[in-house]
Symmetry: C2
Amino acid sequence: MRRKITLKDIARELEVSISTVSKALKNSAEIGRDTKEKVQAFAKLYNYKPNNIAVSLKNKHTKNIGVIIPDIVHYFFTTVFRGIEKYANSHGYNVIICVSDESFDKEVINMEMLANGSIDGFIMALSGETQLKNDFSHLREVTDQGIPLVLFDRVTDEIQCDKVILNDTEITHQAITKMIKSGKRRIGLLTTENFFNVSTDREAGYRKALTDNGISVDENLILTLPFNEEIDAIGPFIDNNDIDAIFAVNEIFAIHAMGIAQGKGIKVPEEISFIGFTDGWLSRYASPGLTSIAQHGDQMGEIAAKMLIDRVEEELKSEIEIPFRTEIVKASIVERESTIN
Amino acid sequence: MRRKITLKDIARELEVSISTVSKALKNSAEIGRDTKEKVQAFAKLYNYKPNNIAVSLKNKHTKNIGVIIPDIVHYFFTTVFRGIEKYANSHGYNVIICVSDESFDKEVINMEMLANGSIDGFIMALSGETQLKNDFSHLREVTDQGIPLVLFDRVTDEIQCDKVILNDTEITHQAITKMIKSGKRRIGLLTTENFFNVSTDREAGYRKALTDNGISVDENLILTLPFNEEIDAIGPFIDNNDIDAIFAVNEIFAIHAMGIAQGKGIKVPEEISFIGFTDGWLSRYASPGLTSIAQHGDQMGEIAAKMLIDRVEEELKSEIEIPFRTEIVKASIVERESTIN
DNA sequence: TTGTAGGCGTTATCAG
DNA sequence: CTGATAACGCCTACAA
């Protein structure tokens, strides 16, 4: 078990000084040709690689990005993460990922763990509890220390930082309008507790689309479902409201609702059509295929990573402050068989 | 923008030495009560936290675990990751995750990035290309340096290290036997290229179950599908082989096949029954619900993390060598409506 | 009870 | 062209 070799080891073996070795390996012009060659050959032979930790300590940046998301077994977050990882890796950064599990406390603990030098910046989506409590002191803590932060999807106006969001309101407006155009009038909305900014935005799009098309909003057609998968309310909701279309703020709700409708012998999409947010595996493989809103998580992730890394690297070079930006990713509607074209 | 405070800062402010501060914060008996109180109060006030990087450099371990998996948008890997993250976090470790994307080169690059001091050990599942090439020099490189490694699911006998695997052969045997017991005789197997150890193991279970039950293996009933989702072959496969059951080595193949069968008007499970590996969202929400093999990814992840952390921490304390272990997680069959009970 | 010094591995500045 | 020295932030054996 050959231990990792250090500059010091090379210096000792070659009977030169540590700094000579360091410079030789960087091909510094200060070092003589033969010394350089000797050192480089030796280093290659013993597979020398600088110790990341020591470099980090010296340079005061780690080339690590911290990502904190509410859940990993979740198509959308997974794709965002993939985008982050892809961009980060191709730019020499590693990704440390923590899962808040929708818990405020875990989010705080994770941030503290990482904020003590382990990472150069954060990319995160707020946990449900954090949005509920509306307490962002841990984020402020971090930004006050000058650690760059990029929020995506689940964001808040309370914190000044870079953000990447979806055009939730607009795309929902489009989707609802599409349903109306296809002749639907009694369109149900399946949503989550409204402390989620995304649910609020989607509901706004829903309401506006209806009124823009001369349909008044019937509050009975809006069903708020709890966090966990308690879906018993969907059956009666369909039965009692003369519904002819359902828009759901996530894939699971949509698939559930469609299954329940099919179980009642209701024809999809003729009698009830369905659209769900998140164009994941479920939407693709449902039968009939579920028309859905593609959130382009990969793209959001790449943008978030780019914003963060750009900021990190700018701050290294210059002292000029970059203003915070909010990038909006445009969702798209993926048409399948659960809606009338 | 208040920068992070260091021991040196505290020492300067309080006009004591750095080591006094260091000891005081650790409640060392060497330090006088009032000095300790003064230092601790000051540290709390300014929210002092030791710099992880400096501690890592000093202690020569980072409290980071490197995880390398082939894919993240994949139910099974996601659950394993969740298990790893959960165990690691509760033991003060962070998780750095890299995605090999089934590519040998990416796997190598990622390992090299992390092996230079960033992590205390690796947990990984081999990429498809790595299993195909059968080249594990990058793993050996790492283990030779004394970096602990735990392989899970996609493993190899070529490398001596801790491993966590599923009882693939056995559970497949059980599942096939179950199908036979329910009256099925022409049982098809949908599998992937056999360089994956898991596919090989599952096929072995399939073959053994048939012969154990007096059914000879018909090679026409084994369909090998490529990596990507090329599924055109499934239709003819069903048509031409008088098939009455299908076992698939993953969820997607199973769902695809079931959809194709349903499209042909074939009754599930009476005419053809289905079982798929991976008890993910798709299996749960398919209609009919897909009977599937739960791989208990969370559990595999926790075990892998425990094995790794135990080894890392043992090596710090003592010099005794812990022998390598292979833990076997027992899968279970989740019965749904795609099979006859 | 407190402080000094050396070191973890690297880099950068400055002197020779 | 090469080397000594200091520094990044922390820890600890040893000295005072």
